[in-house]
Amino acid sequence: MLDLSKYQSMGAALKDAVEVFASEVCLIEADRERENHRLTYRQFRDAAMPVARALQDFGFGATDRAAIVMTNQSKWLIAAYAIFYGGGVLVPLDHKLTAGEHWQLLKHSGARVLVTEYPIWRQLSVASERSEAHGLQTIVVTEAPPNVDLAGALRWENISTIGNSTGDPQFRLRTRSDLATVVYSSGTGGRPKGCMLTHENYLEQCAALTSLYPFAPGMRYLSILPTNHAIDFMVGFFGPFTCGAAVVHLRTLRPEFVREAFVKYKITYVSLVPLVLKNLQKGLQARFEALAPGKRKIFSVLVAVNKALTHSRPRLGLSRRLLKQVHQAFGGELRAIIVGGAFTEPETLQYFYDLGIPVANGYGLTETVVAVTVNNLKPFRADTVGKPLPGMEVRIINPDAAGIGEVKVRSKTVMSGYLNDPELTAETIVDGWLLTGDLGRFDASGDLQLLGRKKNMIVTEEGKNIYPEDVESVFESLAVKEFCVMAANYVWPQQTMVGEQLILVLHLEPGQTLTEGLCAEITARNNRLLNYKRVHGVLVMDEDFPRTASMKIKRNVLAEKLSKLARNGVVVKL
C-alpha cells in the first residue's frame, strides 16, 4: 500500500496508485450475471483522463465544486478521480433523495459541475427547483439513450470530444488543509449540514483504518452501500485504491445476485447497514432451521466449537474448514463484514462472529470522515464499538457516576466545519474537540460503549439520520395551537441506541381534545412521510411551548418538562 503520510492530497495519492498498481485489477462492474467492465488501474486512468481534460476545458478549476449523483458503478469512481486530479472539491450526494432535495443541496454546495445518470437526470431536469441552481454550469449525464433530449446536459460519452485541448490534463496539486469534499450528513428538510472535509482528514482516516483492516492487490471489496456514503467512499474507493485492491460494483442489489457475487468474485470485504445485516441473519437462520434435525444438531455443535476456538481472536482458516458451507456461500475468502451507518445490535454481531465471520463494528460520524473507533477483534466484543483508532483522542465529557457522558473527539480526521454555517460549527467544534451529541462510556478494557444520545435526533437501521425539525413541515397548519416533533429517547433517555422513535407533541386549543378525527388527520399526514421518518406516537401537553425571543422552540427546555411525565402514560401510539 502507499505510504499516505507522504502525500499532500487525495488526488496525488490516487495519481500514484494508478501507476504503482497499473496492471492490477481495479474495478469490476457487473449487472446481474453479466460482467460490464473489468478495468486494471492503467485502464481506469485511461478512462478518467479524458473526463479530467473535459472538465478543465469547461473551466472547472482547482477549488471548484463538482457533485456526483449516481448509483454505484465504475463511472462514479472515474468521475471522482477526474475531479480530484483537477484539484476540485467533490460533493457526493445521496442518489435516493428526491429531485427537490438534490437541487436544494446542489444550490447549497455551490457545485459548478454535476455528474449524474440518465434515470436520475430524467427526474432532476423537470423539477421546478432547477431554476434556482444558478451556479451549476456543466451537467454530464451517463447512460443516456441515443436521440433523447438531455435538457441542456452533456453526454458522458461525448464530453472528451467537446473541448479544445489534447493530451493529458493538468494535474493540480492541493495541500493537506485544502477542502477535498463537502459531505451532507443530513438536514435536507431544513438546515443542510454539509461537512467540509480536507485532504488531511481522508489521508489520516485511510491510514488509520487500513492499519486494522488492510487491503492488498488481489483483494476484492463488494460495493453495496451507496458510494456517496462515508463508509463506501472510504472502503469502496480511497482505501482499496491506495492499496491496489479491486472494487466490485453490482448494478442491482437484488439479494439473489448479491449472493452470487460473493461466490463469483471471491469477495474479501463488504460493508452493510444494520438493516441489511439483520436481514442476512434472518435468511441464514431460516436456512439452518430448515435443515433436518440431525444436520441441524451437527451444525450447532460446529458453531459451538468455532465459538470456543475463536474466543480470543478470529481464526479464519479454522472457521472456514469447520463451517465450510457457510463460508462457501460467502465465496470462501470473506475476511470481515464492515457494518456502519447506525447502531448494530450486539446479538446480530455475535451471530456472525460465531459463524467465523468477523464484523468490523465501529463508531464514527460524517463529521470525522467515517470511523473514530473500531473493534480490533482481539478479542471480538459485540457489546462495544471498539477502541479509538490510531490518532483518535476520545473523551467523555462530565461523566456521571456510571461513567456515562457525551463523547467528544479530537483528531486529524475532524472536519473543518459545516459549509455556510459558522454558528453550528462553533456549537459543534469547541476548543478543537468535536462534540458528537452521543452518550457513551469506556469500559475497563478501554472499549467504547454507546448508550444513547444527547442530541434531539434518531438514526434508523438503514443508516438514515433523522432530525425532528426536518419532518415537521408535514404537520404544518394542523388544527392545534402548536406542535413539534421530538426524539423520544432524547426526552426519556434509555441508555440504548436501538428502537429510536419520533413523537409528535401537541398543545391543543382551549377546550380542544384529541379526537378520533384529529388522530385520523395526523395519521394521514404521517403517512405522507417515508416510513422511516414517521412519528410513532402523539403526546398532548397542556401548556405553551417554551420559546426564545425569536419564537423558536427551546427544545432542551421542552424535553426537560416532558421528561417529568411517564412516557407510557402520555404517549398515544399511532
Binding site: 449487472d31 446481474r32 448509483t71 458503478q73 442518489h95 435516493k96 428526491t98 429531485a99 445518470e117 434515470p119 436520475i120 430524467r122 427526474q123 447512460e143 448494478r251 442491482t252 442489489l253 437484488r254 439479494p255 438493516l275 441489511v276 436481514n279 438503514e462 403517512n527 405522507r528 412521510l529 417515508l530 416510513n531 422511516y532 414517521r534
Partner: protein
C-alpha cells in the same frame, strides 16, 4: 399488447397482493414507499415480482428515483 392503463392496474393489483394492502386501496399516483410503508429492500422485492409477472428485466437503476405506481408502470410499459 397491454395498454398503459392495463399495466398500471396490474402493478397496483400485484403490489396490493404482495404487501397485503386492501384491494382497491392503492391509486396510480400513490407513492409506494409511503402508501405501503416499505423500505428499499422491500421495494426490490416488488421489482422482482413485477419482472416475473411481466416477463421483463427491469434494472434497479432504471427505476432509480421512481416512487409512484404510474411512473413505475410507464417504465415497465416501455420494456414490454
Amino acid at each position: 399488447m397491454r395498454t398503459l392503463e392495463q399495466t398500471t392496474q396490474e402493478v397496483l393489483e400485484l403490489a396490493s397482493k404482495h404487501f397485503q394492502a386492501a384491494p382497491g386501496s392503492l391509486a396510480p399516483d400513490d407513492d409506494f414507499f409511503k402508501k405501503l410503508g416499505i423500505n428499499s429492500l422491500q421495494a426490490l422485492e416488488l421489482l422482482s415480482r413485477l419482472e416475473n409477472h411481466f416477463s421483463i428485466e427491469l434494472p434497479d437503476y432504471e427505476v432509480q428515483g421512481v416512487s409512484d405506481f404510474r411512473t413505475l408502470a410507464a417504465r415497465i410499459q416501455s420494456r414490454l
